[in-house]
Symmetry: C2
Subunit: 318 residues, 2 copies
């Protein structure tokens, strides 16, 4: 009987789920709103209903486990802890609550950035690579670090917060309470803040002079930069410069074989990769120069979040 | 028969060696000059003679292996690679050359900073701790990172160069060719450079106004600071501030349980630890605050380098 892992990606707005086979195929998937379920037990029963529907769709199959990616997920405790974008406040024992609903299969959760790293390693561009880092450039900057084929969790499960390392001294205010964090520069939000800064620095004409920052959109910044907008181009240059410089420091920590970039910002392609790679090589110690690649995620146009969550299970199973 | 590992610390000037039992006792030790042996085979034969003497001194015993700590030592290849402070240039296949001389026991080498981390974990303050970082503040800044009870080597054996992460933007020139590296601020050399800077910044009287930087000595800076020299105190304050801030970023990478400080500068005690801990807590992300300790090495007044080298062997043996 064909085996599948259930991959569940719990986001602030939607929860996406799918059945994923050992090769990373996801033939059936579904989604439901995360919002509007202040009662978590009610939410988990709806998840159960969706999973049952997916199994019916597939026909005969065996579920080997449930993997969950969720903001502030604690792998060690199976809990969601103080997630700012979710309705459930405080510490939620998600895995304990899931057990009676799915009594026969194992369930594991981790934070969404770590799930991405699992996905990249099991199904994506990092397949067969034992030392790598994934950086997800979305609204914020998430990161997952793999050393010796294992995800780095740290002493309490909170390792890998590279978005909150210091990119700029006394820099931009970050949601975490610190200043100058990498994610305030390198993320879709960071790009918009940099565009704003560049509108102040530069005199070139730009479509964005007529818009407020709340009306900036990543795809449009890319499009205008490709059309020659000097200000938008400068925003990408600075984003890449700061990202490359920080990635060079991360290499001095774990010396990965490669760093994979994922998330919405990566669809900007060379606009982002060119200045990032240039700054990266410039800031690397000599012993690392030319030896570490910066590559796009292998899961860019796929259900990366569902695959990542399911990879948690396939990783244990294999 | 009592078992011992041979620990060999190869420094630029001297090579120190000793026999170390499983508890970290080192009842016999010896040293010979590293300099003046342009012929490495000749040098290794002298090592053999010294080891034989140590065994004779102990009487009946069993040697379980040879552990070597050496600058630019490559654990994977058993080589010394382009070590600036040693006479042997290029890539030296030390382990291959050692094999015919000690045919019956295993030999392993690693760089001196990694050996310190092994020593701390097996015999020192990090015994039983599975997630930690050691920082050795000597002439430079060496570091060893332990994750999940294993030393982090990286893809080619060059992980853990935390002394060459960016502490200050466009900062001091570093021997590695980059600018603003942590070791240009946080090391005994860094302290002297900071003292020089503080002599320029401050107007307070200081004994050091009559000395050139080549006549600054770490112990004297400590002594004067304890005697109330405002300039020397300010130099320690700045050193601790910069160190604590960088250590906070390292926590965002691997979330260790503790960070152990070793090396000559650590004998300055609270002069260094107080501002380091203060800055560390100030710069940590909220989720880490109060959860990661900065502690002195447990091997401060011992043959830390010999113990570290021997720990390489005991680590494999246990």
């Amino acid at each position: 009987m064909k085996k599948f892992a259930v991959g569940i990606d719990i986001g602030g707005t939607y929860t996406k789920l799918g059945l994923v086979d050992e090769k990373g195929n996801c033939p059936v998937q579904s989604k439901l709103p995360t919002k509007g379920h202040s009662d978590i037990d009610d939410y988990l029963r709806k998840i159960k209903t969706e999973v049952d529907k997916l199994v019916d769709e597939i026909g005969e199959c065996e579920l080997i486990g449930i993997g969950i990616g969720v903001p502030n997920g604690n792998y060690f405790k199976g809990t969601i802890e103080h997630a700012a974008n979710l309705e459930w406040k405080g510490i939620v024992p998600l895995i304990d609550k899931l057990k009676p609903i799915f009594p026969d299969i194992p369930a594991i959760l981790t934070n969404d950035a770590n799930a991405s790293a699992y996905g990249e390693g099991i199904f994506g561009a990092a397949k067969g690579v034992s030392e790598f880092i994934t950086i997800t450039l979305g609204t914020g900057l998430g990161s997952g670090i793999v050393i010796n084929n294992k995800l780095v969790y740290g002493n309490n499960g909170f390792a890998g917060e590279l978005g909150h390392t210091r990119a700029v001294e006394n820099g931009r205010e970050c949601g975490c309470g610190k200043k100058g964090c990498l994610e305030t520069y390198c993320s879709s939000t960071g790009l918009k803040r940099t565009l704003l800064e560049m509108l102040a620095v530069k005199k070139a004409p730009s479509k964005f002079r007529d818009l407020g920052i709340n009306d900036f959109h990543g795809e449009e910044i890319t499009e205008e930069a490709l059309n020659g907008d000097e200000v938008a181009k400068a925003a990408f240059e600075k984003t890449g410069y700061i990202l490359g410089r920080s990635l060079a420091d991360f290499v001095a920590f774990s010396e990965p074989k490669a760093i994979y970039l994922a998330g919405g910002l990566v669809s900007s392609g060379d606009l982002l990769f060119d200045p990032t790679r240039k700054s990266f090589e410039e800031h690397l110690m000599t012993i690392y120069k030319g030896k570490v690649e910066i590559l796009p995620s292998g899961l860019m146009d796929m259900n990366a979040a569902i695959l990542g969550a399911a990879a948690l299970i396939w990783n244990e199973y294999q």
